[in-house]
């Protein structure tokens, strides 16, 4: 969906800088961020945490039929990436074709356009992943 101005703005620090949270009570890391630790709930102590952006590919696919706004990018590779601190997140794998990607490949986060609202609307930026050269 076209994200509204305020909806997109709220998530800028997390999307631009891979900012999540950590529960200092049980040492669980959350990206995307959580304000309630599922294990500790109200006993949890949630603090911000900046992730390195490095991780490995946990699973992936190549999208051939994109949702509204992504039609011109098709085909593109999407992955669930396991960050080195533990949590997993969903993002596009850039500068790679399907055959270039395997489960376990190391990747790093890069700053890219995620969606563009036509010629006059907002550009929504965020994170995608790129294979790390060995």
């Amino acid at each position: 969906m076209k994200e509204s101005v305020s909806l997109t703005w709220r998530r800028i620090p997390e999307r631009y800088r891979i900012l999540g949270t950590v529960c200092k009570n049980c040492d669980a890391y959350f990206f995307p961020l959580r304000q309630v630790c599922p294990k500790c709930r109200r006993k949890g102590r949630i603090e911000p945490h900046k992730f390195s952006g490095r991780g490995t590919v946990y699973s992936f696919t190549e999208i051939h039929s994109g949702p509204a706004g992504f039609e011109s990018q098709v085909p593109y590779v999407m992955a669930i990436v396991e960050l080195e601190e533990g949590p997993r997140c969903t993002g596009q794998v850039v500068d790679a074709k399907l055959e270039d990607v395997k489960i376990g490949d190391p990747v790093e986060a890069v700053f890219r356009q995620i969606q563009v609202d036509g010629d006059e609307g907002l550009i929504h930026y965020g994170f995608k992943f790129r294979k790390v050269k060995q």
């Binding site: 039929s65 994109g66 949702p67 969903t90 993002g91």
Partner: protein, 392 residues
């Protein structure tokens, strides 16, 4: 528990498909009337209603679906409530209706499920369905539902060595069943090769691995079991209703090759019914994508983890003699179609027909215990119901 037993005394549905000439209210009214007539009610007996529908606001600009249905079914001032849990909306509505009757608060309750999906483009519908996942962290980044299930398929194949033909086998079986179901969207059989050669939607899932975009509605009428026999001689008792929640986003799930919420809902349902997987004769499971059926029959305990693919390929879930359990006799979501909110109720309708011996060419012989399994999103909601032929 002090709760009453609940039975289904009427069932009906529209044909599922692309209904250019019928809108949201036309579909739900048709299904509602069929169910009420099947129960041989006048309509005055109805005490409350529940309707499962995922996204009428986005798909047709219409919220407040409960009020619309009460009005246009001629049921004012009967209270009708909309229930939503993405693709599990139908089963959630069934569960709410069942609890309303079981608690004693209402006697005769009509439960419907409906979705009108073809008034928008495929890309727009794909985006709206994406709202069943995590809008900020999945959909926004460009994933689609086929993409999410494709990632589950890739993990499943990686962990258990399953091949794409095992996934395709589920689609082939469901089309064979659908060809025997006059209400199914697709009534044409397909082959393994057809599936494997079809266009890729999200690798490794192809077009024929994916359930379609469909319009349709289904409805059932519920009554307390001890009054059901006043209305019909072969009511079907709902002996278990269980629901569990899982993480909204697939990336927060501990595993991709199974749906934990479905496993938990299944365990709770079997416990409630005092039954085990081997007691189930016929099951309607949530095959939004072929991989979902393979994982479902494992989550439900019909086959050990990782063996659902092989079992499907070997015909163990077909209606024939080699079966362990007949799965998706209606054609499933794949061949019957998947009007999102209607699916959970369609599953209840199909099980009702099977247990009453009214399933025509796709009848499972001697079916006495049935199960429906309905999942929301990529597994954030799972609902399992178990049904018993009364007198069984």
């Amino acid at each position: 528990m002090g709760m009453r037993k609940v039975a289904i005394i009427g069932a009906g549905m529209t044909k599922f498909g692309e209904h250019w000439d019928r809108g949201f209210r036309d579909l739900v009214i048709e299904a509602g009337i069929k169910a009420i007539e099947d129960a041989k009610l006048t309509g005055n007996e109805i005490s409350a209603g529940y309707v499962g529908t995922m996204a009428p606001g986005s798909l047709v600009g219409q919220e407040h679906a409960g009020a619309l249905i009460a009005d246009y079914m001629g049921l004012n001032p009967v209270p009708i409530t909309r229930v939503e849990g993405a693709c599990a909306s139908g089963s959630l509505a069934l569960r709410q209706g069942m609890m309303a009757v079981a608690s004693g608060m209402h006697d005769i309750v009509v439960v419907g499920g409906v979705e009108k999906m073809t008034d928008l483009s495929t890309a727009d519908v794909s985006e709206i369905l994406g709202g069943a996942g995590d809008q900020e962290w999945e959909l926004f980044n460009g994933i689609t539902f086929p993409g999410l299930y494709a990632m589950m398929a890739r993990r499943y194949m990686h962990e258990y060595g399953a091949g794409p033909e095992m996934l395709a086998a589920a689609a082939v079986k469901n089309h064979r069943n659908g060809a025997m179901n006059p209400y199914a969207q697709f009534q044409k059989e397909i082959t393994l090769t057809d599936v494997l050669n079809s266009k890729t939607v999200a690798d490794p899932l192809k077009v024929l691995d994916c359930s379609p975009i469909t319009d349709g509605a289904a409805a059932v009428v519920l009554a307390p079991l001890d009054k059901a026999k006043d209305y019909m001689k072969n009511p079907v008792e709902i002996v278990a209703s269980a629901q569990a929640s899982g993480t909204l986003a697939l990336h927060d799930r501990p595993t991709l090759s199974g749906i934990p919420a479905a496993q938990i809902a299944a365990q709770k349902a079997y416990a409630q019914a005092g039954m085990a997987p081997q007691d189930i004769d016929v099951a309607e499971v949530h095959d939004c994508f072929t991989i979902a059926e393979l994982m479902a029959i494992e989550d439900l305990g019909f086959f050990p983890r990782g063996e659902g693919g092989k079992a499907t390929l070997e015909g163990k879930t077909a209606i024939g003699n080699g079966r362990v359990v007949a799965v998706n006799t209606s054609g499933g979501l794949k061949a019957a179609g998947h009007p999102v909110g209607a699916t959970g109720i369609k599953q209840a309708v199909e099980i009702t027909w099977q247990l009453r011996g009214q399933a025509g060419k796709r009848q499972v012989p001697d079916a006495e215990i049935g199960l429906s399994h309905n999942v929301g999103g990529s597994g954030a909601t799972a609902v399992v119901h178990i049904y018993r032929k009364v007198g069984a």
